[in-house]
């Protein structure tokens, strides 16, 4: 597994150990990219900061909370409305963001009084909300405001409110991952064990590392509820502050994004003896195995089987339709930290796509171990990629599609590589059986977009084809398919609705009698 040196990065030799190509005879002990190291200044890396990792990624998906950033307004403004983590309380946390608006005089004289005024104002503006998180920023970390003391002071004066403080300034660590870590540890230290939950089932889990992007959490919650499992809390998508204070009473931690939330699972295991079960919510087989495992843990595997059977029967013919048309297409999995390994193997097996590259913006070496382990031989793995390396990789690998963030997706567009939003999704949710089909559908539509095909034509030089006034995706995708596949009645295109979450929220669940 040799290191891969980018031409554009020859002048910064320390980059060489941040990329490898998975070789046919190699294993993870032969080469592994370095990871989670300080970013090279000026390299135009895609990384964010530890403040956003704490506030924006993990804190803000909590839905019934006033999220205040203690600092100038920019930190909260810039991170606000850049994600698609929804909630079932009309998206309170998406719609509201709060900043203490620290100014020069506060930098000089301190901003603690300002913070206290802000806390009181915010609770006054939203009297129905009694919970708050406060996030330190670079400026207030450097002037040394004691946020914890102010929060305690307010809690003493206002007994019906509860406040969580996260001290994770932007400069704290090489990337947003530093903030994931800090908020995990801060939450378990400050809040877990504070609330005793009402236990309504014999089977109680925390669902951890899930952020309800376009409704992913609600899809999974639906499965758990159909199995009669009580989801005590979700850390943190669509999650409730008080439920997250009662995490210590779960029987099992079901962990999805280990990158952002394994810390709290590890601590819950050590402190409260709650086991950690890592799962995959993406893809039919991994999801089925995950549901089986959770069912098996509680001795209710047959309930999982029933769901798997129903869902597979409903959606497998649609997944297969796309697999026939995506097989052999080259894909770069270039997400943030965890989706490279969630997707690397199953996207190959169930959609037929060849993963030619994985990268992680803010992941650690552990994420690369998982990602490289799961992708096929020949894939290029890049840690903390930068603008020029991404371009060089795309020119070299010529992927049919890349899965990445919004802005890098615009770069890809310009060199005519279609992109799908790996963080926010195009038309998610992507978790669940139906979600996985939606994912396949989005990939298919991107790859076979007629407009995309037009971008290859140079009307000043090329012969302009005289083949009609339109094309459809099918005209491209089915051109070389065998007749039997084209006309197969065992497979069909996606038939679901645009919004599949609204229906779920109205759903009623069977009563399972509690044994204990």
């Amino acid at each position: 597994m040799p290191y891969h040196e980018f031409d554009c990065s020859k002048c910064i030799p320390e980059r060489k150990k941040h990329a490898v190509v998975k070789g046919p005879e190699d294993d993870l002990t032969k080469a592994l990219p370095l990871g989670y190291l300080n970013t090279i200044p000026g390299s135009i890396s895609e990384r964010g900061c530890a403040y956003c990792g704490a506030k924006h990624v993990i804190g803000t998906p909590m839905k019934d909370v006033i999220h205040i950033s203690h600092g100038p307004t920019g930190c909260t403004y810039d991170t606000w409305q850049t994600k698609r983590y929804i909630s079932d309380n009309d998206n309170f946390q998406l719609k509201r963001t709060f900043a203490t608006d620290v100014k020069e005089k506060h930098i000089v004289f301190g901003a603690e009084k300002l913070l206290k005024e802000n806390i009181i104002e915010a609770f006054r503006a939203f009297p129905e909300i009694k919970r708050m998180t406060i996030y330190q920023t670079c400026a207030t970390a450097l002037i040394g405001d004691d946020i914890d003391a102010i929060a305690q002071e307010v809690m003493d004066e206002m007994p019906d409110v509860d406040i969580f403080v996260c001290n994770s300034p932007g400069f704290g660590g090489p990337s947003q991952s530093g903030g994931h870590h800090k908020i995990n540890i801060a939450w378990i230290n400050q809040k877990v064990g504070n609330v005793e939950p009402v236990i309504t089932s014999d089977y109680v889990i925390n669902y951890v590392g899930e952020y309800n992007i376009q409704g992913d959490q609600e899809i999974m919650l639906d499965f758990f509820r159909r199995m009669g499992i009580q989801v005590l809390s979700t850390f943190t998508g669509n999650g409730s502050y008080d439920e997250l204070r009662s995490m210590h009473r779960a029987h099992l931690n079901v962990l999805e994004c280990a990158r952002s939330a394994e810390y709290i699972c590890n601590e819950l295991r050590v402190r409260y003896g709650i086991p950690r079960l890592d799962i995959d919510g993406f893809g039919f087989e991994p999801l089925a195995s995950s549901l089986r495992k959770v069912g098996r843990f509680f001795g209710i595997e047959e309930r999982a089987e029933k769901i798997i059977e129903e869902e597979s029967a409903r959606w497998k013919p649609e997944l297969d339709w796309y697999k026939e048309r995506l097989t052999g297409k080259k894909i770069c999995l270039w997400p943030g930290g965890s989706k490279l390994w969630h997707w690397a193997n199953v996207i190959h097996e169930e959609m037929g796509l060849d993963v030619v590259s994985v990268y992680t913006k803010f992941g650690h070496q552990g994420d690369m171990e998982k990602g490289i382990a799961r992708c096929e031989v020949g894939a290029l793995a890049i840690d903390d990629p930068n603008e020029l390396e991404g371009l060089e990789a795309m020119y070299k690998l010529k992927p049919d599609i890349i899965l990445t963030g919004k802005r890098p997706g615009e770069v890809a567009k310009k060199i005519r590589v279609p992109y799908l939003n790996a963080h926010a999704y195009h038309n998610g949710p992507y978790k669940g059986f139906e979600g996985w089909v939606r994912f396949a559908r989005d990939i298919y539509n991107a790859i076979y977009s007629p407009i995309h095909q037009l971008s290859y034509l140079d009307i000043s030089k090329d012969e302009i084809p005289d083949d009609g006034g339109f094309k459809t995706q099918r005209m491209y995708s089915d051109a070389t398919l065998p007749e039997a596949v084209k006309t197969s009645s065992a497979m069909r295109e996606y038939t679901g609705k645009y919004d599949i979450i609204a229906e779920l929220r109205k759903r009623e669940y069977p009563e399972f009698n509690k044994k204990q």
Binding site: L28, H251, K293, Q365, G366, E369, K370, R374
Partner: protein, 115 residues
């Protein structure tokens, strides 16, 4: 019939592609996971009882039983092996997984004393 090295490679490949339990974040956790999950898998493959009375053991068993089932289903050579051979194979697998994920791992965070 593949030799033991080929078998280990096939079993390892399945773990690498399909499982996540072997990649906990610290060396001691990986050793513990490998020991318990692969230990239980070996027992299950040999038809032996495993104790799942404690929650942590039940969690190991969940991953172990998944592994054992898939191994039996995917690798038909298991049916021709004696229990002693299975134990020898699983011991070799365990050593291999320990090597790949811990002892030979290049992951510099494994030794970080804190989570």
């Amino acid at each position: 019939m593949p030799d033991i090295n080929e078998k280990v490679a096939q079993l390892e490949n399945f773990i690498m592609k399909k499982c996540l339990w072997q990649f906990h974040s610290r060396a001691w956790d990986r050793k513990r996971q490998n020991e318990n999950i692969l230990g239980m898998t070996a027992k299950l493959l040999c038809g032996e009882e495993v104790d799942t009375s404690k929650p942590e053991d039940k969690c190991y068993w969940v991953d172990a039983s998944y592994l054992a089932e898939n191994y039996r289903e995917r690798f038909d050579w298991f049916s021709t092996m004696s229990n002693d051979e299975i134990k020898e194979l699983m011991q070799a697998l365990r050593e291999r997984i320990d090597f790949v994920t811990v002892d030979g791992s290049l992951n510099e965070e494994l030794k970080d004393p804190r989570y």
